[in-house]
Subunit: 219 residues, 2 copies
DNA sequence: ACCAACCTGACAGCTTCCTGAAGCACGCCC
DNA sequence: GGGCGTGCTTCAGGAAGCTGTCAGGTTGGT
């Protein structure tokens, strides 16, 4: 399950990220709303953890915008404001759950597990894509029934395509996904990794669109 | 499945009992260790839920006595958050799992279900994995028919892999399983135990995926 | 045909992992 | 109570293999 954490507090963010990772979920952590929007353009998330007080705006507005666009991604709000009115505002804006700081990390795990169970019908979904069988939970890929070993970077890249099947992803977007947002990569790293992925998974898995980017091959 | 609940808190006890009953399991609920001993003399239980702080003694001692008598009934410890050392002691004493109060009731159901599936699937649950024969109930491993002696930590680690065969487990996940959540391990203990396990069980039993974690080897 | 964009083999640096050994805590036995 | 043994953790040196960079080749559009 992919989780987007929007939180500007470094200490809390680190703790939450580590906790989620310990639960075996993959996390992207951003500290601003504009970075969150960028992240969501690159990858589809199954759950958003949203702080309400952020340097570039209020989380409530972000949530409302999200919902007005028809996005139904589950959102759990993290906030220090334990006032009833804020809680109601958050839930009215379309939040699924609410955690008041300081919260227990096991409590967070439980809520995440609850959301996961509610929204993902089967526990271990296996995606079939051409000759490939992909198990997101166990991070394994089989090609024609034979296991394929992907390295950490290769998986991160492949995962980006799987999150947005059929969608065009620019090299910049992919860099943002593979590295920290804003990381300076002044070489053709993405091309190299795409090449390695193709060698392992098959040449037609990722399709190049010259000057634009890449997208997951059809079928 | 018959479950023995040892818990002196009335509110929590009631909630747990009702939750288990709702899952369709039968529960006996006692609030003292001597009552627990009496109950176990009368009926055989498939699972014990054990609070550590009880009016007539510590649950740890009860668990140790149980194990020293050769009783291998699965035990899940229920404990308050601030007793990290107790939790480690509990796992060392032979507990199968632990839950930190306050815990989510669905989480409890999930743990119970996990234990139930693993221990009561077939009357004599022996897993064969390559050259290994593993008996979960008696916690013994045979390699090519020859008994292999595993220490407490080694078993806990191996057990984590057996619980999720084929699944990638990060070092953080394994630390959480072997110790308590949030226990700070700033060394390579997991690596060392993996190394020991491989020496005892065979180099190909656990497979390393660099930068991501470990998983049980195939076959 | 030209140029830009992309592909891919090679390689060095560096993160990550392995493992032997030493130190430490705890329980056991006399 | 003191000595002993077992198992766990930490540390450090070395090994393994991932990954970013580059260079030269290939492709595709105009």
């Amino acid at each position: 399950m992919r989780i987007l954490l929007i939180e500007d507090d470094t200490v809390l963010g680190t703790a939450v990220r580590d906790q989620i990772a310990a639960d075996g979920q993959s996390v992207d952590w951003v500290s601003r709303l504009d970075a969150a929007a960028d992240a969501m353009a690159v990858a589809a998330y199954d759950l958003i953890l949203l702080d309400l007080m952020l340097p570039d705006g209020l989380g409530i507005g972000f949530l409302k915008t999200l919902r007005s666009r028809g996005d139904v991604t589950p959102v759990i709000i993290l906030t220090a404001l334990d006032q009833i009115s804020d809680r109601i505002a958050g839930l009215n804006a379309g939040a699924d759950d609410y955690l008041v700081k300081p919260f227990d990390l096991t409590e967070l795990s439980a809520r995440i597990g609850s959301v996961a169970r509610r929204y993902s019908g089967n526990p271990n979904p296996i995606i079939t894509h051409g000759a490939l069988d992909i198990d997101l939970a166990s991070r394994s890929v089989h090609k024609n029934g034979k296991a394929v070993q992907l390295t950490a970077r290769e998986w991160a890249l492949f995962d980006a395509f799987l999150a947005r099947p059929g969608q065009l992803l620019s090299k910049t977007q992919l860099e943002d996904k593979l590295y920290a947002f804003g990381a300076e990569i002044e070489s053709n790293t993405i091309e190299v990794h795409v090449s390695r992925l193709r060698k392992k998974l098959g040449a037609d898995v990722i399709h190049t669109e010259r000057g634009m980017g890449y997208r997951l091959g059809t079928s």
